[in-house]
Symmetry: C2
Subunit: 175 residues, 2 copies
DNA sequence: CCGAGATACCTAGACTTCGAGGTATCACGA
DNA sequence: TCGTGATACCTCGAAGTCTAGGTATCTCGG
């Protein structure tokens, strides 16, 4: 998953690890920044496999960096993964859905249920940069290719549906 | 995640491992059955922690089973997790979205792009038992509590949005 | 010039899950 | 009665990620 994302982000441009980390964090609306201890070993692994090359640069802004760029085989690997993403259809680990599946067991305590829904609402309404370009709300048309447009459309629709349901349900439960 | 799901499924009724496996598989439309080598160690761990008890039964259908039931502390643990699901808000690993984010890089080969979308379409349109009770399509009203109703509503809306987008885009790309 | 903060990279141990194997029980048909 | 298939549980090694630490560089304000 992470290695796939790293290859994807490097396809267009060379980046160093810290930038890559910011890209990945921005993708998820800065909600789930990947940990250093996860990212750098993944980079090293890709480098060891010959999929990307590292070039040490003297520090311009701060500490010296390693510019990362895809090798030819890294490029080929990404394209191959895009062509045959069999395993990528499967995993969709949505822990919040797991909470919803069992939240009825707090039935003696509707206030606790409402509190959980309210925290979810707060979480979803904090500005997620996936939906914004700075302060400007994004639209599907802001993306150049139909695939990111679809991604945006699906994510937006899901978010809207959940927000509407959350607000209705919080009201219905007397919150 | 898995341990959470196990506790949730056992809250209402005692089950043995094999049934639990089927419940979890059914939840995901039999698309992602949990592996034995994942499930049984998780059960053992919960048992060691005193959250569930195991009672050996002689084999009625086949091999002898261990009936699993929540202990009082298992019950308390689930309710506590439901009350404070902080970490549960975060992880949402959607590998398919990762594919969509980068699928534009197959731009020299629209047929390969369409093939990927078509496989996704096949995957989404195979009967997922999460949306069906046997052959009968489920509705939100089939669930007793608002939380599973919401889960169903959100999942359905997401699925519908994606299906519409997939069909439109496959057509637009000349597939 | 000195400390704080941002930048940049790294290690180590733990946890969860996966996959590929193994063993044993029972029912049922050929 | 003998195999096959479904049921039921288990072990082990590999892989990916997380958390919690650590080190070093550079800028900038006081």
């Amino acid at each position: 998953m992470l290695q796939f994302a790293i290859l994807g982000f490097l396809y267009d441009e060379a980046l160093h690890g810290y930038d890559l980390r910011k890209r990945i964090a921005a993708l998820t609306g800065h909600i789930r920044p990947i940990a250093d201890g996860t990212l750098y070993p993944a980079i090293r692994k890709l480098a060891d496999a010959g999929l990307l090359s590292r070039e040490l640069q003297p520090g311009q802004v701060a500490a010296p960096r390693q510019m990362l760029s895809l090798t030819e085989s890294g490029r080929a690997d990404l394209l191959a993964r895009l062509r045959e993403p069999d395993e990528l259809f499967v995993t969709d680990e949505n822990r919040w859905f797991c909470v919803l599946a069992f939240l009825r067991y707090l039935d003696g305590d509707p206030e606790a249920q409402v509190a959980v829904l309210r925290r979810r609402l707060d979480f979803l309404t904090q500005p997620a940069s996936f939906f914004y370009d700075g302060d400007r709300p994004l639209r599907a048309a802001d993306f150049d290719d139909p695939f990111r447009q679809g991604l945006f459309t699906i994510a937006t629709a899901t978010s809207r549906t959940e927000l509407r349901w959350l607000r209705e349900t919080i009201t219905a439960l007397g919150g």
